[in-house]
Every structure is written in structure tokens, then in C-alpha cells.
Amino acid sequence: MAELATETAQIVLQSGGETHRVENIIHKVCKQFGYDNVESYVTPTGIFLSVWDDQDHVATSIKRINSRSTDLNKIASISKLCDDIKSRNLSPDQYSQEMHVLALKTVYPLPVQVLFGGISASFYALLFGGSWHDFGIAFFIGILIVLFNRLLYKAHFNIFLINALCGGLAVFIARFAGTYINGLQTDKIVIGTIMLLVPGLAIVNAIRDTMAGDLVSGTARLVEAFFIAIAIAAGTGSMLKLWYLFY
């Protein structure tokens, strides 16, 4: 039972769920299967969980979380599955099966995500005052940034380095294009593309965790958001400096 709850919690946490939601889900899963006495402690990097049965036997499970990504659809579908355990009368085995199916399901294939990364970057470039020329370049850079981001993530670079390198790449290509095409507003292009890197999820989770009384996780997420912001600033800043030095 403890394992089942931990696995559920792991999926939600790795998809970017808030920690108090993860704790809620653990309690919900255990209660639906008849284990009322549960204590859990979840931080963004680990899950600790103890379950007591009727004879006061304790089962404890600890899970370290290393990688985290954003998959809000997974959070939504798993939350729904947990709510429905009672009403659909699922057995633990059935539940485990369905959970694993949901965990493996990806919504969009990589090419679609990459394409929409480009769309997002280019429209944000327009939003912040870019022209249609900037739009085209931003689309191209957006696609590259998403691909580069995935590549570095697969290569197990840390979150700071990933964001700094992506920011640097965005500035470099934008400036490079700016030297060949007249009238490009490189700043608008860069802003559009770095909106892809902005730590929206970390900010929102930091606030919601803190408001739910989960101070440790709230602080951790806040530091994460802060470091990503610093990384973007450092990446773009150093690339700008290099550019000014050589041109």
C-alpha cells in the first residue's frame, strides 16, 4: 500500500504538482483503500510516508525525486483517478494498472511541442512590440531553444546551466541575425524567446505551497524560481557582453 501511494505521489510531484496536493493525494489513495492512519511529508525533492494498518504494523516508504518536468495534464488525470477510486470500486491492482497507463501517456509528441514553442516565442515577440520580421526570427529561435532545452535536459545538465545556455543561445542567434538583416529589433526577439524559459510553474507553486502552510517547500520552490531567473539573466548578460567585446 505504501508503495502504491508513493508511486502515485512520485508521478504527481515529477509532473510539477504542489507538495500539499501531493500530500492530499497520498492521504486520499490510502483512505480509499481502507488505511486511515497515514502520515506523509513531501518536499520538492523527496517523499516520506508511513502507513499503519489495523494491527499497528507500520510500513514506511521513502522516495528521492531527482528529475522534475511540467506535465499539468498528468496531474489533472491522476487527481481525477484518485477521486474516482471509491465510486468506480477499483481494486488496488486495477488502480495500479490504470495509474501506470496514465503515467506513460504523453499528450503531445516532441515535434508538436517544438512547433508550439516557436509559435509561443514569436507571438510573445509581437506582444512586446516586435515587427513581423522579428516574428519570423523569434519563431526560428523558439524552435531551437525548445530543442536545445530538451537536449541539455537529456544530457543531465543542471537547471541553472540549462537556462543560462538557452538564454545565451537566444541572444547570440538574435544578434547574429541582426547583423545580416536590417531593422531587426533584437531585444524584442530575445524577450519573446526567453519567455519560454521563465519559471512560471515554480513561482506559482512557491506561493501556493507557502499559503498552504508548507514553508519548506515554498522556500525551496522560491529559490528554484529565483535561480532560474538569475540563470537567464546571467546567460543573456554574458552573451551580450561577449558580443559587445567582439563587435
Binding site: 496536493r21 506535465d71 499539468l72 489533472a76 509559435i119 510573445y124 512586446f128 510553474l201 499559503m211
Partner: protein
């Protein structure tokens, strides 16, 4: 309403949609998430036009986004984060941080510090408005349960 404002809102909508796809949102939720971006950016621009107060406009924009998300979260029975995260993205001060860095690299230290401070204030304002809405939503739910 002038066309400039409308086109800006449209750009925000499509940009948010792209971000939502990156966060693996699908179906009807994708459409409503994008509308959240439009609501946030639209109200931000309108308030900014009327009052010329940056932080107030950001506050109201983020407030409306989170309110909208709370309502949608109840309707769709999904975590509210799904909608909030993408909706506030246009308001996040990515551009201000970039301008600060660019000023700093050009040697304008005072301007860079001013912009950095501004970015920090904007981020704080967004946090406060999300916090306000989620706190009141919790109180509201508590009351509903007791009645």
C-alpha cells in the same frame, strides 16, 4: 476599443496557447487556458491605459487570472495550477530582467538597478495577487462546507 489593444490581446492568447502546449494541456482546457492569458494581459493593458500605474495593473491582471482559474478549476474539477501557470506568463517580468541586463552590460549601473528592482516588485505583486485569491478561495470553501 482600438485595434492595437485587440491585436495585443490576440498575441497574448496565442503565445499562452503555445506555452500551454509545452505544459501538456489539451482539449477544452487548452482553449480556456489561452483565454486566461488574454484576460490577464487585456486587463493589465486596460488598467495601465487608464491609470498609468504599473504595479496596480499587474496586480489586477494577475488577480483576474487567478480568480478565473479558481472558477474554471471548480468547473473542470482539475488542479487550479493548470490554468494559473500559463495565464500569468505574459505578466512575468522576463522583459524587464533582459533590459536590466542589457543596461548593465552597457555600463548604466543605476538604470540596471532600477529595472532589477522593478522586476522584483512585479514578481512580488504577482505573488501577492495569487496568494490573495487562493487564501480567499480556501476561506470560501471552508464556509461552504460548514453551511
Amino acid at each position: 476599443m482600438d485595434t492595437d489593444l485587440l491585436s495585443k490581446i490576440l498575441f497574448a492568447t496565442i503565445g499562452t496557447m503555445g506555452f500551454a502546449v509545452g505544459s501538456n494541456i489539451r482539449g477544452w482546457k487548452l482553449l480556456f487556458t489561452s483565454l486566461g492569458g488574454a484576460i490577464g494581459w487585456g486587463s493589465y493593458l486596460l488598467v495601465l491605459q487608464q491609470t498609468h500605474a504599473l504595479l496596480l495593473s499587474i496586480f489586477i491582471g494577475a488577480l483576474l487570472v487567478s480568480l478565473y482559474s479558481e472558477i474554471l478549476g471548480r468547473i473542470f474539477r482539475v488542479p487550479i495550477t493548470v490554468f494559473v501557470v500559463c495565464g500569468i506568463i505574459p505578466l512575468v517580468p522576463g522583459s524587464v530582467i533582459y533590459y536590466a541586463m542589457s543596461q548593465y552590460v552597457q555600463g548604466n549601473f543605476m538604470k540596471a538597478m532600477r529595472l532589477m528592482m522593478q522586476a522584483l516588485l512585479i514578481a512580488g505583486t504577482i505573488s501577492i495577487s495569487i496568494a490573495v485569491v487562493s487564501t480567499f478561495a480556501n476561506i470560501f470553501q471552508d464556509l461552504k462546507r460548514r453551511l
